[in-house]
Symmetry: C2
Subunit: 429 residues, 2 copies
């Protein structure tokens, strides 16, 4: 049997612990039940600190050594029979401002539950095994997703990462918040200083494919490419009642047109385009604005297609400016995040497949590409990586009603633990 | 001669006083010169209080009696030979957040300069004459333009007017701010309790007609109709990377489409449509928003055409919801301001025409319809009213660079004083 000593996840404990710790950041009640709220546990907030403290205490109590790096990434390492880089199971405890109880949180709780199960059984892994909580995976508060894991992977310097400012208050930096909550560690944040042998992650799919196919486990073979932009449109503030339509430089109208164009570009290429943040100045009913700032998120599974989408959107912007801007509207697209499509490692994909087929059977599992970015995309640049997906209701995520059944959560946690232990058992060094 | 005792405006004093008092609320420097800033003197702010205090002191020193009503409207009344309702020259001292030095401010300073000129000459009007500062003409901070004058005219109850909240902070009411700055007077705010015999107002045109026709004085015969809406669009927050384009309920995309549609409706009818304030929730780069709130300002000189514009925009909204919202986007249009087209009074229009032709000659003056709303639109419901327009550079207003030449300001002040004195001299009761 592939499953070492038949270690079995305790599904009740898994869900109880998850919901108990969701008191930190619970928000957006949508029903009367005790777990019928979403989450607003923004990274490096007071609630995030409480969840981090809990994670550290819990892992220490199971005999793990807790390491915190300069990005606040937390590594709870349990020794194996031999020394070496740990095989990690990780995800993140931060959420969106209107997030749910599963995105990221489930993945860390699966790691905690795996560690408890291993601990109770007395099972000795060959090499160390680690539960990891990555900082600011969401990019919701500080606008860089996979923030902590991208510094670890070397895609982003720790200085730039610390200097990133809160989308809602540009006087607050990520570095200052790490210090304020006591999670700016001393360990160098890098794959070199703090290597992992492999990274596994359980996550809700966040999309509709498993649900539509009535399957339980996604064997994730990679992630789609995505880019983020700050779009800035300058126009001329003037009177809403006395400025004839043909004498306006209205940056909001131009922004609206560009959003409609970006939507059409996404549909044409089979990708996605989304604006999630927007602000305008000066903000008076009877004054045409002079400045619009908004974000644009574009995605595609294929790097070349995503590049073509970017080119099409830039061309649409230039055409709109040329058409509308006798009165000097200007558009700038500033790329603030750029992530190529990710291919996971065959060894890890294979371990997930073996674990999945043993747990739910081959028919209930499928290979799948992730629509979202994950810390696993960053780790896969330095160590073999794969992920386990479970379905979520209506494919809905980044929404308070995000939901996965306790049964699926437990199955996913079983598969991610088994895959990690299988990988460990197969390691040669 | 029509001009009583040849009273002549002191143009240097007019401009010096205007610029001196613009220290309260000066903002948005655009050049090195001492007067090269715009204004951000939002109604009922500390800067507005300082300008009000100055106005009251100045008018008291000229022997005027200062009356403040429950909306903070200030009436500085100079007695005439007979008692009766005063002939008023009025405008407003508040500005847009990115406003200029002329919109409203010039009109009050013309009234002050007229009062000084009359005072120095020892000229006795037949009936009382008043300089008036109306509260929150702009509607920029509390979203109801002609706020003080509309309560005076009975279009809006004082209770509702006091309850109006700041567009930037809904915990602040207009009533509380009136109290805070000491301008919630005891005089009943109504045309009945505090009648005017006539209302004259000098204002920059805020549009391009006089400038394009190289004329100096606009004899204003009325104002165009306008309506303001709060538009609220609900959608469903979900993940920007994993939610396929055809499974989205994206309220921002719907808003963008409706803005583009409203723009087309305005062009089709020869009116205007503008969005000046917009906010979105939750505000995260990689989350489709769930709620958009934005304002819509639509205008047309003709009431029926404006009603047709509103109907077209509502139809466009319904069509967009029907087309896009399998996933339950909804749109509500809440009308928060509705002002019919205004026709000024022939007696006042005639007085302005006589004064204008005597001052600049018939060729340099033209009849004109106001594109903007003015307190004169409110007063005209209860007393004969007209306005005097002067050109402003590029027709630009609600912009820090708003500019009128000192020569035109003085000519306008002369015409508005002469028109008011002519009206007074012709009064039978
Ligand atoms: N899984 C997830 O929601 N990640 C956030 C990063 C992104 O894909 O936008
Ligand atoms: N004159 C002026 O700018 N008034 C503000 C009210 C309006 O929006 O027209």
């Amino acid at each position: 049997m592939y499953r070492p000593r038949q270690l079995v996840i305790n599904s009740t404990r898994l869900m109880d612990t998850l919901h108990k710790t969701c008191v930190w950041g619970a928000a957006h009640r949508y029903g009367p039940g005790p777990t019928q709220t979403g989450m607003a546990r923004l990274t490096l907030s007071d609630d995030d600190k409480k969840a981090r403290d809990w994670f550290g205490d819990e892992m220490s109590s199971l005999g793990c050594d807790i390491k915190v790096d300069t990005m606040g990434n937390m590594f709870a390492v349990r020794p194996g029979e031999k020394t070496g880089a740990p095989t990690a199971i990780g995800s993140h405890l931060d959420t969106q401002p209107t997030g749910g109880r599963y995105d990221g949180i489930l993945g860390v709780h699966a790691a905690v539950e795996a560690m408890r199960t291993i601990h109770e059984s007395g099972y000795k892994t060959q090499y160390p095994i680690a539960a990891v909580n990555w900082t600011n995976e969401e990019g919701a508060r500080f606008p860089k997703s996979l923030h902590g894991s991208s510094v670890w992977s070397g895609d982003f310097t720790v200085e730039n990462a610390h200097a990133l400012t809160d989308v809602a208050d540009s006087s607050i930096t990520a570095g200052a918040e790490l210090e304020r909550i006591g999670y700016k560690g001393t360990l160098e944040c890098s794959a070199k200083a703090n290597p992992l042998a492999a990274h596994f992650e359980l996550h809700i799919e966040q999309g509709p494919i498993l649900e539509n196919n009535k399957q339980t486990i996604g064997i994730v073979n990679g992630g789609q490419a995505y880019k983020w932009f700050n779009v800035r449109v300058h126009g001329r503030d003037s009177h809403a009642g006395t400025t004839p339509m043909n004498l306006r430089a209205d940056p909001l109208l131009l922004s609206a047109r560009l959003m409609v164009a970006a939507n059409a570009v996404a549909i044409k290429h089979g990708g996605c385009a989304t604006t999630g943040i927007m602000s305008l100045k000066p903000g008076s009913i009877n004054t045409i604005p002079n400045l619009i700032d908004y974000t644009l998120d574009i995605r595609h599974p294929d790097d070349a297609a995503l590049a073509a989408m970017e080119a099409d959107i830039r061309a649409a912007a230039a055409a709109l400016v040329a058409e509308e801007s006798r009165y000097k509207c200007t558009i700038e697209l500033d790329k603030i995040f750029d992530y190529a499509a990710t291919k996971f490692h065959p060894d890890c994909i294979g371990a997930v497949r073996t674990a999945a087929e043993a747990t739910v059977g081959a028919d209930m599992a499928r290979e799948i590409v992730s629509g979202a970015g994950h810390d696993s995309c960053a780790t896969s640049k330095h160590c073999p990586t794969s992920m386990v997906f479970i379905p979520c209701e209506e494919g809905l995520s980044h929404n308070p009603r995000e939901y996965a059944t306790p049964e699926d959560c437990a199955l996913g946690a079983q598969v991610v633990m088994d895959a990690a232990l299988l990988f460990d058992s197969r390691r040669q060094k």
